[in-house]
Symmetry: C2
Subunit: 341 residues, 2 copies
């Protein structure tokens, strides 16, 4: 089958990869309907975070089940499914507490590489959720978004305790930040401040529910958030970048007792000064989003056309042109690129 | 009046200080019944965290109101009062959300220096809580503990979401850590693991409600916590030290989705590696405890003799011997030293 391989930082090839097959009785094999490039794929693309040598890429996916292992009970061949970028049994104590991204028997789908025609999904029962039927083609981008960026933005908004009466600030105007805006709006936030200096992303943020835009960054950005909130800071802040500057921008933008949901992938060497955290007295939580926790609800909202997160894909290319998809996202010409078959 | 002054790091003098007086109409002046030395007083004593030059010391206090400003309504001369180490109006939006330690019109009582015969307490209505009457002498140590260490340990336990069904680990066996043990027990925690290698503190921890003791520290300590919790880690971790090592010990001891309440005073240069935080996926909150939030409840529990936090004072000295109190705590011969009049 054809699939994306990063042969070295910055080098994307679409090449023949081994056909996936059932290995464990809990596996499923799916045929992809769509996949996409993640902001986190750009880290190795840019040579950050360790060596890269012929790595199969991709961890976001929707598609049709082709085959299941003997132990799989909840999905069957022919089902259209959405899955999280983490696989999970959804039955262990950690999963049951809502942290499927840290399942005791789980792992990362990135090891599978879903930028490909077919993919093996481990722990199918605890990872995949079937849609009510075959989706209309225009729903596919939104269902694909649920696999990672929507689920991640949703988790960030929940972690930041966005909700009625709350002012939410969003640091980062990438796909996850924009999905955080959408999630905060869906969760009933009173005011949503998107921090962005790009007109196209500001526009999309407004369409997703942002009530205010702040163009300033860093200390100046946090000062602006405090000015907009009676000097106190936002109740809830979504951090969707992962650098020291963006994290401190989030800390400084949050009122005492407020909540930060951080989902920007922080790399080695990103440190949070704890004297500042002590003084700021905020709540901080984050990490890889337990997307599986939210999937049934997100699929329902998409199916009923209550939300349209698929608009975050501003570039669609066939799988064969994956290299161009990476290039466009790396240069910020595209917010998020979908790959089709 | 007589009061404690730190003339330079390591040098404690009891000397004549200016008599306090009402400055603002919201002030009260109290005569101290007891005061004490805080673990945080040891930082400047050891020359850490900036220069020291004839600094009036102390921020923990119980005593009798002698005088109040014209605007004070809730306490009156003759009342026996307990107050937080932070002053607060208890009416601003941040106070009403439970973060009186970050009151918009608040500050630190350490600027007043309560290791003295009398003290001016700003924002008396929002800072002081009167006891139901004159306390029995044996209740005074416990009421004094409520002013900081008990209130701080309580906040840490609440921030760590200690409660029924939860396993709580406590990093730090100083007075605040021991009060965290007591608080976790009062909040109904199922299992409380005190991390300590000192027999006397282990004993006190057990008296306060610890069910297990772990003597290992750092990675080995966290490994032991995971062994005791089915490989998962504690639900709730109290961090009461404030160093990078103790913070990472706390992070490593917490299960995914678990909660850390950190109240150890972190100084400049203490950094939390955010790649670890991202991977650990814990909740982290802390800072100066909003003791005022808990004072009415804590006073009631002490008054009704449900808790006896005053046992944390294992040294009592007259104010004139404050230098010895500092020395004993600095050398860890005493857990916490009370100063009497």
């Amino acid at each position: 089958m054809r699939g994306v391989v990063m042969t070295a930082p910055g080098i994307i090839e679409v090449t023949d990869r081994e056909e996936p097959a059932i290995v464990e009785p809990t596996d499923a094999v799916i045929r992809l309907a769509a996949t996409c490039v993640c902001g986190s794929d750009l880290w190795p693309y840019r040579g950050i975070g360790g060596p890269v040598d012929h790595q199969a890429m991709g961890h976001e996916y929707v598609g049709v089940v082709e085959e299941v292992g003997d132990a799989v009970r909840t999905v069957k061949p022919g089902d259209f499914v959405v899955g999280s970028f983490c696989y999970s049994d959804n039955t262990c104590e950690i999963c049951r507490s809502g942290y499927q991204s840290r399942c005791v028997h789980g792992g990362f789908i990135s090891d599978v590489g879903t930028q490909a025609e077919r993919a093996r999904i481990p722990q199918a029962d605890g990872t995949l959720v079937a849609t009510p039927g075959a989706p209309a083609p225009d729903l596919i981008p939104s269902l694909l978004a649920a696999s990672d960026v929507l689920g991640t933005g949703w988790y960030a908004a929940v972690a930041a305790e966005a909700g009625p009466g709350k002012t939410v600030a969003v640091v980062g105007d990438g796909a996850v930040g924009l999905m955080g805006v959408l999630a905060a709006a869906q969760l009933g936030a009173e005011r949503i401040i998107a921090m962005s200096r790009h007109a196209d992303r500001q526009q999309l943020a407004r369409e997703f529910g942002a009530t205010d835009i702040v163009e300033e960054r860093g200390k100046a950005g946090a000062k602006k958030i405090r000015e907009l909130t009676g000097g106190l800071g936002a109740h809830s802040v979504i951090e969707a970048v992962g650098t020291e500057e963006s994290l401190m921008q989030a800390v400084r933008s949050t009122r005492p007792g407020g909540h930060i949901g951080f989902v920007g992938l922080a790399h080695d060497g990103v440190n949070l000064p704890m004297d500042r955290m002590f003084g700021a007295q905020v709540h901080l939580t984050g990490g890889p989003a337990p997307v599986r926790r939210f999937l049934p609800e997100l699929i329902e909202k998409i199916w009923n056309r209550e939300i349209d997160p698929g608009r975050v894909f501003d570039l669609q290319l066939p799988l064969a042109e994956a290299a161009e998809a990476y290039r466009a996202m790396d240069s910020r010409q595209a917010i998020k690129a979908m790959l089709t078959f």
